[in-house]
């Protein structure tokens, strides 16, 4: 602890912070503050939307803070496990809107990781990724919905416990569709690939919307209602109920829906965990290296003996498989599936998550998913709610004497998610194309390319036969 006169206070602070024990205490304090703050927020407060927007994101981002700290790996894992398995559920029991948010984050993180395989690992820009998600969701919904589909009418309805089997069915189906989609686009590059995949994505949505005539498969634009849910064992419900009563928490709403959401939360965490592990394994394998080769220079990869077709199809299939599994979870959780949930803006949102976080890096992608989902589902919505709460009491902004009542009703922040996404994408591409948590290799790629000569990569190869 020698005082070096040449060292700035900031560096001294950082050095002090990087001592494990200090870091540990700081992190614990941080967690404590955030959790206690979260639990002490009162819904009846006027500024509740604002407060919850300020407090919840730090809580959700705490795993990243933990991961970035210089603690021992086992302690990091324990802390994160405690957060995920104990802290979050408790917060969820206290206020199930946070539980809802976290489940959505899990879903989108899984989707972002899947897209990351296609775009980040293999470098194939897929703008229709949401189609695989739709395949998974519809596969479960079609077989369990009470809408008047051909399945319901002929009695081929699947019981709730088949949900766990259908996760695998969703995986397989989506992977199949991924291969089907990948086959025709093998030769395409860059822009063309993007547009074709966009076309496929839209086609799936239009098909879902129109597949109610002449045979009703998907019930068209009215969507599938009452999608099946995995059965809840009674001990689970009782368990949740007893935790709530021992802690004296009054549950808003009924116990069963809360227990159902909790079940989905844990299923989601498990699926996300599996996806993370799978993605990591792939990244560090021969397949991952093949993908990197394809991404960086396809012709050189072929020259080095990388089986292009197989690897590209594998990328599509794997990405699709992740989306398929998540789709089944989503359908069961929402208990309602309609074609409008699978439109272009969803594909772009997921792309935004991958880009904002940092293409290729697993940690970055999850961070991107958290940021974009929170932005979309919490920040913008809460801004609207806050605006409304202020309007209710006819709040007047002090210095400029502006009546909140005069804010035009059409200018509600929650509706302007496209604006935010668009701006986010443009700014990220202009200033930080490698993302917030860039994978070192990608960053190098992008920096090098920026300085290199422009090379006009054509969109089709001359390996086309015929004509």
């Amino acid at each position: 602890m020698t005082a070096q006169t040449s060292q700035s206070p900031w560096t001294t602070f950082r050095t002090w912070l990087s001592r494990p024990s200090v870091a540990g205490v700081v992190i614990l304090a941080y967690l404590l503050i955030v959790i206690v703050a979260l639990l002490s927020l009162n819904r009846a407060d006027l500024l509740f939307p604002l407060y919850s927007t300020l407090v919840f994101p730090p809580f959700v981002l705490s795993p990243f803070v933990i991961l970035a700290s210089p603690l021992d790996n086992r302690i990091k894992v324990t802390l994160i496990l405690v957060l995920v398995v104990i802290a979050m559920p408790l917060i969820g029991i206290y206020d199930s809107s946070y539980l809802e948010l976290t489940i959505q984050i899990c879903i989108f993180a899984g989707l972002a990781l899947g897209l990351n395989i296609v775009v980040g690992f293999a470098g194939l820009l897929d703008l229709g990724y949401i189609a695989f998600f739709a395949v998974g969701a519809y596969s479960w919904a079609m077989f369990t919905s009470s809408a008047e589909t051909v399945f319901f009418v002929s009695g081929i309805i699947v019981p709730g416990w088949a949900f766990y089997i259908f996760i695998f069915v969703g995986v397989v189906l989506a992977a199949l569709v991924g291969v089907l989609l990948g086959l025709p686009v093998l030769r395409l590059r860059g822009d063309y690939l993007a547009i074709v995949t966009l076309g496929f994505g839209e086609m799936i949505r239009v098909l879902a919307r129109n597949a109610d005539q002449p045979i009703n498969f998907t019930n068209g634009s009215q969507g599938l209602l009452n999608v099946g849910t995995p059965p809840m064992p009674q001990f689970w419900v009782d368990f949740i109920g007893s935790i709530a009563s021992t802690l004296g928490i009054r549950i808003a709403g009924n116990l069963e829906p809360l227990a159902q959401q909790m079940l989905f939360y844990f299923i989601g965490i498990v699926i996300l965990g599996v996806i993370i592990v799978a993605a990591r394994r792939l990244d560090n394998s021969a397949i991952g290296r093949a993908w990197t080769a394809i991404r960086e220079d396809e012709v050189a990869a072929i020259a080095m003996g990388v089986p292009l077709v197989k690897m590209k199809l594998l990328a599509f299939a794997t990405g699709a498989a992740f989306a398929g599994a998540i789709g089944v979870l989503y359908a069961a959780k929402q208990s309602f599936v309609s074609p409008e949930s699978f439109s272009l803006i969803q594909s772009i949102s997921i792309l935004a998550m991958v880009i904002v976080g940092g293409m290729g890096g697993i940690r970055g992608v999850i961070l991107g998913a958290i940021i974009v989902t929170l932005l979309n589902l919490q920040v913008l919505k809460n801004l609207s709610l806050q605006l409304n709460a202020l309007r209710n009491i006819d709040f007047i902004v002090p210095l400029i004497n502006f009546h909140i009542r005069d804010w035009p009703t059409q200018l509600e922040p929650a509706k302007y998610e496209r604006l935010v996404f668009g701006l986010l994408l443009v700014l990220m591409m202009l200033f930080r194309p490698a993302g917030l948590l860039p994978e070192p290799r990608r960053k190098l790629e992008l920096d090098m390319k920026k300085r290199a000569q422009p090379m006009e990569t054509p969109v089709i190869t001359s390996s086309e036969t015929g004509d």
Partner: protein
């Protein structure tokens, strides 16, 4: 240095009055392109009519009491006319995509929103004229020219601005980056326009104030044999405006020095720069022209349809992109061909599918996407496009 010294000595027999006539300005730049369009439209209409007749022969009565052949006979003129008018709209937008792709080898995803901005500006201009009063006193041509002209200028400038701010810094970045930027701009524009309309009008369903202008609303009956079709005057305006603009564009690209510069940049950017062409200026001009055409298409579309919203650009933009690819992206004639083809096929499908309830007209949109996908898979260079070989 005139070009005469560089051309080989002409064989005297070829220097005939015929030749001079064919090479003269009016023929080359007006008659020839218009002739091409007419022949193409006639050909497309002919083929589609043939196909419809074949279908009617195969399936005479798809629904009880409906004889398909009669219905097609009645609808034929209408289908062709509406096909032409929407086809020209697609063509104009497609040109924007194709011009930009030609110079930068880059798909300007934001072009559909430039189309939308054109339609919104058209509305704003018309609404302001209406607010000032006496809109009936304006000469129709002057009114349309003002509306479409302002849409063109503002859309063109917007396109140049976008290029300057978002695309130019990324010219050397890998493929993915400008594409994503374009998507981002597209999204941003949609909600930005919506926000502006929300602030200024608290509503974003923008209805063109054609109420006082009966000449815009009264249809013109045209008789073809037994059937009389009521043609909307806005359809005719679209066709006329489009043809005029296409002729001007054709002259600009093929007959002027600037046009030659643009063609040079699209062939080989670096060499063009070495030859003394101001590459950045050429690119900006290209964006302006493409944007202006898109804006004009938007204003004309708005006049035709009557009500526009900030979301009106997405689907036509996608279809116009299909048209550009269909014709061969990078190829100006191809964009025209592709747009007209897509418009006519769509129109015919709409007219025929209505008699097949099992399918219905909703499948028309599926068709547009399928065309896009099939072309990109089997013939990515399009109808008129060139094969590009990859340099290793």
């Amino acid at each position: 240095m005139s070009s005469e010294t560089l051309t080989p000595p002409q064989v005297p027999a070829l220097d005939s009055p015929w030749r001079r006539l064919l090479d003269s300005f009016p023929v080359r730049y007006i008659l020839y392109p218009v002739g091409q369009m007419v022949i193409f439209i006639a050909g497309a209409a002919g083929i589609l009519t043939l196909l419809s007749v074949l279908l009617a022969l195969l399936v005479p009565e798809p629904r009880p009491n409906i004889v398909l052949m009669d219905q097609i006979g009645k609808q034929l003129p209408g289908m062709i006319i509406s096909g032409i008018s929407i086809g020209f709209v697609y063509s104009m937008v497609a040109l924007g995509y194709t011009l930009v792709y030609g110079v930068l080898k880059f798909i300007n995803f934001a072009h559909s929103e430039i189309f939308m901005v054109g339609s919104v500006i058209g509305f704003e201009v018309m609404q302001r004229i209406e607010d000032v009063g006496f809109i009936q006193l304006w000469h129709p041509v002057a009114l349309v020219v003002t509306i479409v002209g302002s849409a063109m200028i503002i859309s063109g400038l917007l396109a140049v601005l976008i290029e300057r701010v978002a695309y130019r810094p990324l010219r050397n970045a890998p493929r993915l980056v400008p594409l994503i930027t374009a998507i981002g701009i597209s999204f941003f524009l949609i909600d930005f326009v919506r926000a502006i309309e929300a602030i200024t009008r608290n509503d974003f369903n923008l209805t063109y104030p054609t109420g006082d202008l009966s000449y815009l609303r009264t249809p013109i009956p045209m008789t073809f044999g037994e059937t009389t079709v009521n043609v909307r005057i806005t359809s005719i305006i679209i066709v006329l405006a489009a043809v005029i603009m296409l002729i001007i564009l054709n002259y600009f690209v093929n007959g002027t020095k600037l046009g030659r510069g643009i063609r040079a940049v699209s062939q080989d950017r670096t060499t063009a720069g070495l030859m003394g062409i101001n590459v950045n200026l050429m690119i900006s001009i290209t964006f302006f022209v493409g944007g202006a055409l898109g804006g004009a298409a938007g204003a004309l579309f708005g006049l035709n349809v009557g009500t526009v919203t900030p979301y009106v650009g997405f689907i036509p933009g996608l279809k116009a992109f299909t048209a550009a690819v269909l014709g061969g992206i990078g190829n100006v004639t191809g964009a025209l061909l592709g747009g007209l083809t897509l418009g006519m096929v769509e129109s015919f499908l709409n007219g025929v599918l209505v008699y097949f309830p099992a399918l219905g007209q909703r499948y028309t949109d599926i068709f547009a996407f399928s065309v896009l996908i099939l072309i990109l898979i089997f013939r990515p260079s399009g109808l008129l496009g060139e094969r590009v070989d990859e340099k290793v």
